[in-house]
Symmetry: C2
Subunit: 341 residues, 2 copies
Amino acid sequence: MGASIKDVAARAGVSIATVSHVLNGTRPTRQHTRDRVLYAIRELGYAQNQSARNLARGRSTLLGLLVSDVRNPFFPDITAAFQDQALAHDMDALVLNTNYDPQRTLNSVRRLMGLQVPGVAILTSQIDPSVIDMLAERRIAAVYLDLGKVSESISNIMLEYEDGIVKALEYLTQLGHRRIAYIGGPMALKSAQRRKRAFLDMTARLGLEAAQAIDADFTVTGGYFACSKLLSGSMPTAILAGNDLTAIGILHRAYDGGLRVPDDLSVVGFDDIVFAEYTQPALTTVSVPRTEIGKVAFQALWAMMSDPNQAGREFRVGTNLVIRQSAASPIEARYREASQE
Amino acid sequence: MGASIKDVAARAGVSIATVSHVLNGTRPTRQHTRDRVLYAIRELGYAQNQSARNLARGRSTLLGLLVSDVRNPFFPDITAAFQDQALAHDMDALVLNTNYDPQRTLNSVRRLMGLQVPGVAILTSQIDPSVIDMLAERRIAAVYLDLGKVSESISNIMLEYEDGIVKALEYLTQLGHRRIAYIGGPMALKSAQRRKRAFLDMTARLGLEAAQAIDADFTVTGGYFACSKLLSGSMPTAILAGNDLTAIGILHRAYDGGLRVPDDLSVVGFDDIVFAEYTQPALTTVSVPRTEIGKVAFQALWAMMSDPNQAGREFRVGTNLVIRQSAASPIEARYREASQE
DNA sequence: CTCCATCACGTAAACGTTTAAACTGTTTCA
DNA sequence: TGAAACAGTTTAAACGTTTACGTGATGGAG
């Protein structure tokens, strides 16, 4: 039962409207009154009742952020950046887990609508069209990841996976690799599709020998077994993984098979999760700038919210190759091997 | 913009009070009317306006969850579990980052109070007393981690670090280790203090030879350099780390120094972060059941919220040793070594 | 037949804000 | 001097719920 705006008004000897205007800067006030109000606020330890505020304004200061699973090391950076931005604009971010479950996603969006959120960022890989419609109908600003669609109230963040794949392959070929294999994710995921396609396109363009590409499931053990398959055939000198977990699986398989990375086999990951830095050897990988994604997601929403007749936009965020120790020249590797024996 | 309770009432031919009661089950209604109301709700796509609801009830359905940094791999599991519980009770969890900054913590709590949250879980390592007071004054249910204090509206979760240290040391001694060193965290952290103390107490009790314990900073590189120091002296056969990041640093140092883990050196971590499973070799570590912490945190709040004159309680959550590959018997290790040469 | 419970529901007053509109002085200008 | 403009402030009506209280049926007991 804290103090209300009425108490503040009484204490400062002004009307509640004035207090409100002082608080929101919605109308000029004299220095004198402002001081009195501010002083009263301090004295009473008054805190605005957001519920009442939201009700009166018809919108809340909460933003929705839907992710598939906060436990996935991909997301924390995004949510943190999003939150920081939100906070800087005096808003809050409610992050909800969909657990990859469409039903739960739908429920989450319902909840968010009940909370009168002015905008929501849906950063999951799979998006149900009915969710998109629900939000669009109510004119709630929305931003998606790789949705591809942009409209009145819908913005989109396009991740330039292709770019990253190209950089990785150029790097590997410059190192001298010709037999490069790819281990990707499940084709149900758009991101996995695009990465694989980029790999195939690029290897064709670079004229690399019959590049193998096999689909795993974006997990460590998936990468491990996919790598096993690869090693039983004609061995590649380098493997590009569709994500870092897969790459870690490859690292393990190589280790168990007595192959030294990067001497006998180069491995390049994708995502640059926190632990990419701590694998043995440290993983060379394509970094997806997660902090920027979070930032951009907020900015996309903010733009649409602050100017309602501003249409949604397409945002692009690039990817970068971060070079660590898991990839090296295959020639050099053979040289080393020779000199050791 | 959306339909309001009035629209529903009109459509169903009842009063808004009835609609409210149907929605909340706060008083008996006839099957017939209930059906009509529910039907109208479906037709209109009505969603309760939480702001209005919260205002009327004087409390929100939002729960606050303060953590130091969502990027810290320790937290996502906790927040996810907390959220799941909250959702199951028709509440939401607003998780805020304090970034280890007391000022920011204070602001966050202010925000939460403005949102009229009925409860907040503060799961950071450092807690400013003024924050505790603010919450206690307003009778907002609060649960802390290792605060040690319990009162009217304050519950506490006690993590049994000691227990885990004991289990780890018993395991190592059973394997035959006698020279066990410890690399802990900064003494500014209570958790680091308690772990170190437990280590010292227990090694003394077990009568192990002058156990070395040095303080690092809970990071990978911190662990790396601390391990260097250790190796330059009289080498231990096993190192217990204050957290997993430190343990990973040790693993790296051992690798770089040509030591094989666990053959030449056993390493045991603490926390069981996701990646403990994926290190090379997989890390034997003391697991802190994060999911349970999240669950318990919610339940603590729920108990205090649902029965306001129920006092706060002390909850305990234990720790467990999870055995993987980074620790082995030192005798066996020497045997292997001998047979290889 | 009357009275009183009981049941099912409606009425209307909160809850704490925001904000359009009305109301005060002052100042400015013809 | 009077009107007009203006800055600063107040008044009061929303916003969409919850919930204490009131009311009109129905039915059984006396």
